[in-house]
Structures are given as C-alpha cells and as structure tokens.
C-alpha cells in the first residue's frame, strides 16, 4: 500500500509539471446612446478611453504609467486613446502636459527634459476605418433614426491647436520640454464632420447634430531627452509628469 501511494504521488507530480494553463481575459466595450429629447434621435455624446502599452484600460482618475529606461533618447509608445461618440460636429480632445520633475519632497526640484508626440492614428465611422496617412478623408455613412435612414456624405476635418490641417499626413503634434522649461503645454485635436458634408433622407434640414458612431484613435510617444554624457547632471530618483486629457462635445 505504501508503494502504491508513492507511485501515485510520482504520477501526480509528473502530470502537474506537464500541465500548463494560460488565461487571457479581454474586455469588450459597447455603447447605447440614450435619448432625453423625446425624439427618435439619440443625444449627442462623446467618451474617452485611455489604454496603456499593453492595451489595458486605465482609470480616468489617475493611473500611473511607467516609462522604461530605453525611452531615453528613444521614442516609447506610452498610451493610446480611443475617443468615441456620435456628434456630427466639433468634438475636441485636448492633452495638457506638465513638466517632468523629481518626486522628492523638499530640496531643489529638478526637471527632466522630455518630448511627447500626440499622433492621431485612424478614424472609424460606421464600418469604415481610415488611417491618417492620406491627404484627405471623405466617405459616406448611414445613420438610422426613427425608421428613417440618413445618408451622410462627409469630409472629415481636423484642427490641431485651432489650425486646420489640410493633410492628414501631419495629424500629430509634438511638445518638448527643454532643460529648465517649466511651462505647461497643451495640444488639442478638433474633429468636425459637419463642414463639407451633406445629409440626405428625412424631410427638411437636418438639425439633429448626431450621426453614426465614430471612433478617433491615436497614441502618445514619449522620449526622455537626456544623453548618456549628461545623465549625471540629473539627480537620481523618480521623476513624474502629469498628462491631463480633456474631451468636449457631450
């Protein structure tokens, strides 16, 4: 009996060592546009999701993002954003970047030079995804409300810091903090499908202000601009910079 127990034990050990399991969980997200107007049209709405480099959604109340050591003099994809909604015109997302400074309490604050590039990557309207690499972005999409199908012929436009970009190839903005630079810097992207668009379907002018669901995606690249020769000029320790994301359009 004792032998049998030992043999069983060995078999169990073997099978345990051979078995490996991997559990991957992904979060699927969806939205239902509500209506408080009493009409068949949903309310205009926008929402934002920020994801880290592993595509994990961050809380909107201040999750930390670590910048790895290889981001020194090298671009690192720090986070991505997914800005979504159903607003037909003027939907704005803005990023406010603060200087990167020592976290140590007391003593002299040391600022670390860094660069952050906000890059618009693509837009999905309805079922169509368009990358920001072409010179223009036009398309059609259908939107159904109250049994009526509205067809949008749209020309999507983007303004960066209130300057309209004629080419989507330049749909990005870079901000740099030089040594000693302590100012806060803001970058905004304003999307507008309204100008240059026509809507057919229904009767009379279209004034609902909503269209098909869109998703505007982008990402932020960060680099710490300290060379190997200058690294000793900065105090050892942990540095942090705050990035504030704001959206308008709801």
């Amino acid at each position: 009996m004792k032998k049998l127990v030992i043999i069983l034990f060995i078999i169990l050990l073997f099978s345990l060592s051979f078995l490996s399991a991997t559990l991957v969980e992904k979060t699927l997200t969806a939205i239902k546009y509500g209506s408080t107007s009493g009409t068949e049209f949903p309310d205009p709405n926008t929402s934002i999701r920020i994801l880290n480099s592993s595509s994990v959604q961050l809380s909107l109340t201040g999750d930390g993002l670590e910048i790895p050591i290889y981001a020194r003099e090298n671009s690192y994809k720090s986070f991505t954003w997914s800005f979504s909604g159903n607003k037909y015109n003027d939907s704005l997302i803005a990023f406010r970047a603060y200087p990167m400074q020592t976290e140590t309490l007391g003593g002299t604050i040391v600022y670390l030079p860094y660069t952050i590039k906000f890059q618009c990557e693509n837009t999905k309207v309805g079922n169509t995804i368009t990358s920001y690499k072409g010179s223009s972005y036009v398309g059609t999409t259908e939107f159904e409300a109250g049994g009526t199908v509205y067809e949008f012929q749209y020309a999507d436009r983007i303004k960066i810091n209130n300057v309209e970009k004629s080419s989507f190839a330049s749909s990005y903005e870079t901000v740099s903090f030089l040594i000693g630079d302590t100012t806060t810097k803001e970058t905004s992207f304003n999307y507008n499908m309204n100008e240059g668009s026509t809507v057919s379907g229904g009767t009379g002018p279209y004034t609902a202000g909503v269209c098909n669901q869109w998703n505007r995606n982008g990402y932020a690249m960060v680099s710490v601009d300290v060379s190997e020769e200058n690294i000793d000029d900065f105090t050892s320790g942990r540095y942090s910079a705050q990035i504030v994301v704001e959206i308008e359009g709801t």
Partner: protein, 180 residues
Amino acid sequence: MKRILILLLISISLCFPLMAGTYSEAHGQYLMGYVNSSTQFDVELFEDVLPFNLEETLVKQNNDLSVVLGLRVGVYTLVVNTNNYSLTVTHDKLVKDGTVSQGPTNSVDYRFDLFYTDLLEVERFKTCFYDDSIVLTQDDGISMTNKSFYVSINATDAEIDLLEGGNYSSTISFNFEVGV
C-alpha cells in the same frame, strides 16, 4: 562531323528553354523547428473599433448559425506541437457599467464567433453565447495564425430599444491549457 553538328544543334536547342528562364528575386523564408514541446498563444482585441454602438447595423442579430456576420473585434494565434491542448472561450453578457442587478434594461447577450483552421487546412468557425463555451482541441487543429473573432448582438431591435443609455462591457475569457 555532320552527326556531331546535329547532336550539337539538338543539345543547344534543348538548353535554350533553360537559358531563357530568369530567376526571380530571392525571397527569404523562415524554417522553424522545435525541440521538445512548444506552444504559442496570443489574443489581440481591436481597441480601435471599441466601444461599438449596440444599435449599429453591422452588429444586428443574426440567427443563422451557418453564417458569420457582425463586427470583427480581434484575432488570436495558437500554435502547438503537443498532442493534448484545449482552448475554452467563454464570455458574459454586455452589462451596463455600474449595474448591480442585471435585467433586460441593463444587460444584453451577444453572439461570439471564433474562426479556426482544421487539420485539413479548412476554415471553420464555432459559435457561443453567454451561457455556453467554445472548445478547441488538437482534433480541431494545431496551427491558427491571426484567426478572427466576431461579435453580433443576440437581441431583437425591440429588446435593444429597451436598454438604458450608457457604456456597456463584457469579459471574454480565453483559457488555453496544454497537457490536458
């Protein structure tokens, strides 16, 4: 001499088709081999199509179990060289964020379709709903690279109309086991 010339002409003419051929540019190919058992399993969710609109035409209910319609929300890669594995995929309902008690006004089921390549290299798919699961084993296939999965809402338009406005989320679980 005449014979030699004839033979020479024949041999030259035989060579022409070969000489006329031009080599294409060399394309590198990777040949992979494994020592001992090896597995690879990755899942990618397409965050740039999320969140999707529950009322979007693309994700409308599809009751035909022989056809996949819906939104392509991700891909997975599964490569194994062992005899025994299982991949079990489950998901819960799409539930409105902050919901404590689920009901027809704050949760909705969806259909999940997973493509795979069987042992004969034929493209197939399996389907599951929230109270069900998809199971793939070595009998279904051993090499799936960037295979897609789709979702469509398992509710009528009237049932979707009942849902409250807001953000909804659901967890999709991929449980991959080797040596089962």
